[in-house]
Subunit: 334 residues, 2 copies
Amino acid sequence: VAESATRVAVLGAGSWGTAFAKLLCDAGCAVTVLARRPEIVAALRDRHNNDYLPGVTLPGDLAATGEPGRAIARAQVVVLAVPAQKLRSNLTEWAPLLQANTTVVSLIKGIELGTDKRMSEIVADVTALPSAQIAVVSGPNLAREVAAEQPAASVVACTDEDRAIWLRELCRTGYFRPYSNVDVVGCELGGAVKNVIALACGMAAGMGFGDNTKASLLTRGLAETARLGAAMGADPLTFAGLAGLGDLAATCMSPLSRNRGFGERLGRGETVAEATAAIRQTAEGVQSCRSVLDLARRHGVEMPITEGVVAVCRDGLRPAQMVEALMTRKMRSE
Amino acid sequence: VAESATRVAVLGAGSWGTAFAKLLCDAGCAVTVLARRPEIVAALRDRHNNDYLPGVTLPGDLAATGEPGRAIARAQVVVLAVPAQKLRSNLTEWAPLLQANTTVVSLIKGIELGTDKRMSEIVADVTALPSAQIAVVSGPNLAREVAAEQPAASVVACTDEDRAIWLRELCRTGYFRPYSNVDVVGCELGGAVKNVIALACGMAAGMGFGDNTKASLLTRGLAETARLGAAMGADPLTFAGLAGLGDLAATCMSPLSRNRGFGERLGRGETVAEATAAIRQTAEGVQSCRSVLDLARRHGVEMPITEGVVAVCRDGLRPAQMVEALMTRKMRSE
């Protein structure tokens, strides 16, 4: 790593945090990953993270630590890669360590339960940094595929366009192609709601339905996401882009997606409790669906697929009843 | 079938023509299918079409004939389900048999080579019917899944909105949910260009790339389709709907898609000639890609993925070079 390399801390060593740390290394940054568990720190120093990215060899110059201060103190960029519902408590601990001019980048897709806040709003709340220093990365980026250096595109969004462009160049590699954007709200909503729609697609797949049904759910799901986004001040075009459609399509297509896989279990007849017990990682959509529906109601937006997912995940509706209800809604023009 | 049932002729007995004829029967229409080959007529009368829809039992009241006059003479609605590049010659033969007030519905997805015309334009050319009597159906409708009565949505488009609504109700069943639309141009372009984008997604899959790459191609492919559509007077929102995104997503996701499958063969190193020899049905995108690119150039629209597909299918570029070229284009905002 060159002396002049940008110093980046990646906070969180799950699959996406680790894959993003690797690509930042590949792009020439000086990267330190913060992992909570000592065995993950040891594994990262040994150039792997088999718990989350089995079979991937990490760059030799990727540093790892279990001490937040060591990761954050000199970082020009701090990347957040923790579960959505843990961001506030984690960041409250880390905020005093941030430099005043640090750029904070959220990789997290979700909405906070209780407050219905987006991740960048939590960052602003907890750190008091100006929005120009807060960015998000979102796109069709299944962690294992990025770690395998398969070609992927993504979006880096920041209200400060110059900073978005700077970050875009910072994380660009031969296999990872980021685009800059100023629509933070749209990118975050796209990432959060896609987990909910992926649950619905997974349920349809688990019930044995094919690609017509999944494609219809994906399309109508993106339409309801865009309606919510428009009501919340996002640019509707964001949802037609990589952070909207792109991320949703990758998630709904991929057998690697946690949310889709969780939905499949529900579609095959498992309860939320059974499916939760069976998978190791969080299916964020099960948490966020309630918050997304809250936002929809607050902004007077109709979101029938999200409503259906909430009814299944929270109120015990059977997935078959949800699909039936969606398919028999009143006919109308598109 | 009730005496008052609407009389429909479906011209063409491939997989989608047969599946659409079945759903029209299920919706209560009096349907006659025209098949060119006598053995298909016999099979249809025996309630199956195993060449195109193996394992599907057709309705007992579905009529079949090999004589165009018998199918068309009393039909109030004529549905066209032949290969895109054969429409003009077939319809030239059938046009004298049409009643003056017949509604003609195209199920065909493609652009005519040489003229660069959409299917509804060919219908208008050959029949001299007014545009208010010409409609198209397009959406995420893999024929085998519709024939299996899996839930699917679709779009019925006609410049005459009342007719679009009438047709919508005519083909509505418990498993098939059509929406009406007046944007014929957008629906037809969505259906035609998706075959080209599906070829690109197939190539990426055949080269071993995963869902991030496919989702990125799908997203950027839809964006270039929408740019062409806007230049040609389509409603940009159509491309975010079932006839745009929906159809594209189903095609790119499905192992049943001919165009995706053809692209996979190219991605694995087969030539166009080898892949063509290996599959029985037409991969329409291989034909239409050249016409789509013509339209793009005529309207001054940039379509890099379509350009890449043309270069592979027509000029012998290797798919790996196409993906490389797409991933290394100049960075920019989305």
